[in-house]
Symmetry: C2
DNA sequence: AAGTTCTTGTAGCACTTGCTACATTCAGTT
DNA sequence: AACTGAATGTAGCAAGTGCTACAAGAACTT
């Protein structure tokens, strides 16, 4: 029986994925060093050693997570563009319901809250994630759209509102609003 | 010099306003008993005595805050209805920028985040506050609107998206989206 | 082989957390 | 005046917080 792992030296890069997994599941606000370390297979001692202090850890972690989110969005880019704004909107709404994005969505509101409170690192991550989403929307605007730039921003605004209402138990309200906007069929906003 | 206050007996009702003030300023997630008690002029011992445990305290506090928010919205009801949806939207957008509502807005994202995580008491407060806002919107829909019910929901969805984008540093994105929607003049979404 | 630097483990410190045990004071009732 | 129950103060506990001191091993350089 050979020794399976000689010495799995750790670094920020090897730590960050495990830390991110823990945070996506258990939240960011209540995360303290010892549980984080346990989830990553280390000790609080080493987290401080590698990141300096907790604030830097959170900052790096948020940056890493927003990177993961960006690549997740990239992978979800369809090969053909939707034909209408309605279809573009429905597509990203469906994406947000996929199980892969759901944990991001739960964490997202924590990031927004931290951003609103001015917690260090949160605002940058929030800004980056929204920018990415906006890029995604622009790439999804139908060809020949009269105002793709403005349209993407409009759809993004409406999407964020829809997601938020869904989070606080007002999915039905959002659905009826989308219906009235003419942007959605009767299954949108669930 | 008479003794100014003989004995200011405390109860949940006298405590809650001071607790709410502290939470609106410093946030809800990081609030612990001793700072809360200090802000209310008591001891952690008495907070537990009056509320039983911290979870109940937070629950009662959120309920109280959503009540305060509701009366704040009531007071902001104009005497005349707006003539157009644009005007209705601009009116509530201006309201959200008023200094009185700003602390609620910052706390709001914390409530949404707690609701998404399933923290006890958060979902109820979030649901109540959105319902109140929806009522407000319905009362503000212009007379003769072809679909006031759906319109109010549409405006609410768009507003929440606009507020969120503004919180994370994308006010400009929201403004351009609103412009493209035809719902706003060029000062909206700031 | 010796020396130097990078990485890790063990203990622990000062502080905060929610909450409790115990005793005391106060208000109202009889 | 005596009793009763509600309201409050003091002290503390077990657990958890971020972080550090110290030392030891591991690895790389000369």
């Amino acid at each position: 029986m050979p020794p399976p792992e000689p010495k799995p030296r750790m670094s920020r890069e090897t730590l960050l994925p495990k830390l991110a997994a823990h945070v996506l599941e258990h939240g960011l606000g209540g995360a303290s060093l010892r549980p984080l370390a346990k989830a990553a297979g280390t000790s609080d001692r080493m987290l401080i050693y590698h990141f300096g202090d907790k604030e830097t850890l959170v900052r790096d972690l948020l940056e890493y997570i927003s990177g993961v989110y960006a690549t997740a969005l990239d992978m979800a880019l369809g090969d053909r563009r939707p034909a209408t704004r309605q279809e573009a909107f429905a597509r990203i709404l469906a994406l947000g319901r996929g199980p892969g994005i759901q944990p991001f969505l739960v964490l997202w509101w924590e990031i927004v809250a931290g951003s609103a409170r001015g917690l260090p690192g949160y605002a940058d991550a929030a800004e980056a994630m929204i920018t990415k989403q906006l890029d995604w929307f622009e790439a999804q605007m139908p060809e020949g759209d009269p105002d793709p730039k403005g349209g993407a921003r409009y759809l993004l605004t409406l999407l964020e509102g829809t997601l938020m209402l869904g989070t606080v138990g007002h999915a039905r309200t959002a659905r009826e609003g989308l219906l009235a906007s003419g942007l959605a069929g009767d299954r949108a906003g669930d």
